[in-house]
């Protein structure tokens, strides 16, 4: 897109808020090499989020926003939940539609953008919680994989319906007690990353957000593979510290503990996806 849309009319500059001026003067737009290492020095695309203090989801969002290779030409399709509280604070094109239809909306957007702008790169990224991705939206999620939609799907798994007050979700581990599961969850955590592989995703990753550099690497691979090949899926552990009884400074500790067990880093790359990744690497973009 034209970067003019970010340029401030010089005559109005003196009345513009600093964060808008920063977006023009200290941005990482138009630089596919941007990454999490830019965070302390440049203007972030997310500002003053409204999540709880110390929420790992907020960290995940900051890392993702810093890692997208093409934020000026990326649409994020969101769903209902804690993440939807953040989207009004993001300086990108975002869409919130319903709870669970995010991959369907993204499919329509991606196909029409390819039709309207056949010679341009416009990435579509879905970003939603585990309830939206795996429970209420599973049909739309998997069907978009079956149809080989060229979109990146990122699931923020906090293993609970957090925004509605802590109810069991399909991603809750068996036995955990939450509201609506007062005797503990009766069935296993849904292996969503495996479903994504079986449903035709070209690149799948499962990780916590304990390592910003790793999040950057995964997000960039997922976006590039989706851009050139087909659906990609990233499953991130972003614990709800509130619902599992941790303090605001304990999120990182919790994620590091899970790095060694059910969220051990796992990556699935098809041979054709590997080719894309190698090519992008050779261009110095990874």
């Amino acid at each position: 897109m034209s970067f003019k849309v970010y340029q401030i009319n010089p005559e109005l500059k003196d009345v513009m808020p600093q964060e808008i001026i920063d977006l023009e003067e200290k941005s990482t737009l138009n630089n596919p090499k941007r990454g999490v290492m830019d965070l302390p020095f440049y203007k972030e695309l997310i500002e003053e989020h409204s999540l709880c203090a110390g929420c790992p989801e907020a960290a995940a969002l900051r890392y993702i926003m810093a890692s997208l290779p093409n934020p000026e030409d990326t649409i994020i399709v969101n769903s209902t939940g804690c993440t939807s509280l953040v989207f009004p604070h993001i300086a990108m094109h975002t869409v919130h539609s319903l709870f669970g239809n995010q991959n369907a909306v993204a499919s329509g957007i991606k196909r029409v953008l390819e039709y309207r702008y056949p010679d341009r790169v416009k990435d579509v990224v879905v970003l939603a919680g585990d309830g939206a991705t795996v429970d209420i939206g599973l049909d739309c999620t998997l069907q978009s994989f079956f149809r080989q939609e060229k979109i990146t799907t990122i699931c923020f798994d906090n293993e609970v319906y957090a925004n509605t007050g802590g109810q069991e979700s399909g991603m809750t581990p068996k036995g955990h007690v939450f509201k609506m599961a007062p005797k503990g969850k009766q069935f296993e955590k849904v292996p969503m990353w495996q479903l994504a592989i079986d449903s035709g995703c070209k690149y799948v990753a499962r990780l916590t957000v304990s390592s910003p550099k790793r999040v950057e690497s995964v997000i960039k691979k997922a976006v590039y593979v989706a851009r050139y090949l087909g659906p990609t899926y990233v499953h991130l552990y972003t614990p709800c510290i509130l619902e599992i009884g941790l303090n605001s400074d304990q999120g990182l500790e919790e994620m590091r503990a899970r790095d060694k067990e059910r969220f051990e880093f796992f990556e699935y790359i098809t041979p054709e996806a590997q080719e894309v990744i190698d090519r992008v690497k050779a261009e110095g973009l990874l």
Binding site: S50, H89, S97, A104, V105, K122, Q143
Partner: protein, 398 residues
């Protein structure tokens, strides 16, 4: 028509010559064809510079959806695929429209209900999607037969609702529909209803213009909401943070947004009046004291009953056919029933949502007795004789 005399002839992506909506609808020469309602949908879409359509099978709308797929193969539609369910489809078309496409889809009965959460979302996001609804009964028990109960459910979704009587109406309404729905002052979704089977599967004579001309393409940059194509400053459909907060400003914002959607429907009146040649159509003796108010096939059958009442019983009657339900043509209706003593509302559903509408809009404006009959459902037909009998019985009792 200026487009014809100008030296610069513009074509759409399918290579059709772009003409003005007025030329296409009112001035272009028309030829007579014999076709079903589903085929009329295809012919309308072919001349509408449609960018995208998503489909899902359900009787009786499937054929119309197949035919739009054929147009995609022929290069008249840009994006087309089968979605996973009506819920998915209506979300996919929302995505298409958000990204700046002129978008159409079709559904029926249980499909409408499966998709329902999407309709107020369409309206709230101000996308001018057109849904051709081929009305059918809803479960349970299972029925695939014509019945328009679902239209009653849709009345307050924030979508415009038009009702086509026959294949000709449907053809013209689909074309006019895009033009009206996409007006910057309107820009809300349109649900164009026809009765399943009675119109979708019945072959009739219809007049259509040539297929080498088409509507001007949709220009999403004129939309009142920013198009999500990354060519304009960021637009956010979750709007501003305060909408998600529990305070009085957020309540007022949400409320005023909903009022604005309804106001947009009201602003469609002058455009709809022009392109539909009025929001109502009258048939029979204008001064008659017996009036039928109906839409769709019920209006067709009532017209036949008016003929029979006059020819066989010597009784004068008339039909007021409603072409639009949202916006509701209350001024036209009130003027039209000035002389009425008996207003019959024939309809194809058990609840009588049309009678409720008529009663509400005429309250305080008419002393006529409003009779919600005859009423059939579940696939039953409504022979003109049944309507005549209903009238005669009612008048005789009094």
């Amino acid at each position: 028509m200026s487009n014809l005399t100008t030296s610069e002839v513009k074509v759409n992506k399918s290579g059709q010559r772009i003409v003005s909506p007025d030329y296409l609808l009112f001035e272009a020469p028309r030829e007579k064809f014999f076709m079903t309602g589903s085929e009329a949908v295809k012919e309308a879409v072919k001349r509408a510079s449609v960018d995208a359509s998503v489909s899902y099978p359900i009787t009786p709308q499937s054929e119309a959806a197949h035919l739009i797929g054929e147009l995609w193969v022929e290069g008249y539609v840009g994006v087309y695929f089968r979605g996973e369910s009506e819920f998915g489809v209506m979300s996919e078309v929302a995505g298409c429209a958000l990204a700046g496409a002129r978008t159409i889809t079709t559904t029926s009965g249980p499909g409408t209900l499966r998709a329902f959460e999407n309709f107020p979302m369409w309206a709230g996001t101000r996308i001018p999607v057109q849904l051709v609804l081929m009305a059918r009964g809803v479960n349970a028990p299972l029925s695939i037969q014509p019945d328009n109960l679902e239209v009653g459910f849709l009345l307050d979704t924030g979508c415009m609702i038009w009702y086509a009587e026959n294949a000709q109406d449907l053809f013209d309404m689909i074309l006019a529909g895009f033009v009206v729905a996409e007006k910057p002052a309107v820009h809300v979704p349109l649900i164009t209803v026809v009765d399943g089977f009675f119109v979708s599967h019945t072959r009739e004579a219809i007049m259509i213009p040539p297929d080498d001309i088409a509507l001007p393409p949709y220009d999403p940059t004129k939309a009142p909401m920013p198009v999500i194509d990354l060519e304009v400053p960021p637009g956010r459909f979750l709007r501003d943070p305060f909408v998600m907060k529990s305070n009085y400003i957020s309540y007022a914002t949400h409320a005023s947004w909903q009022f604005e959607v309804r106001a947009a429907i009201e602003r469609s009146r002058p455009y709809a009046k022009h392109y539909l040649r009025g929001l109502i159509e009258e048939f029979g003796n204008p001064e008659a004291e017996i009036v039928f108010v109906a839409a769709g096939t019920a209006a067709s059958q009532a017209k036949e009953a008016v003929r029979m009442l006059k020819d066989e019983e010597g009784i004068e009657a008339k039909v007021v056919k409603l072409k639009t339900l949202r916006p509701f043509p209350y001024e036209e209706l009130r003027a039209s029933v000035k002389n009425a003593k008996y207003i019959f509302v024939p309809e194809f559903n058990v609840v009588g949502w049309m009678e409720r509408e008529i009663t509400k809009w005429l309250y305080g404006y008419s002393n006529a007795k409003i009779i919600g009959a005859p009423r059939v459902a579940g696939g039953m037909t409504m022979p003109a004789e049944v309507i005549v009998k209903e009238v005669l019985n009612y008048i005789k009792v009094r």
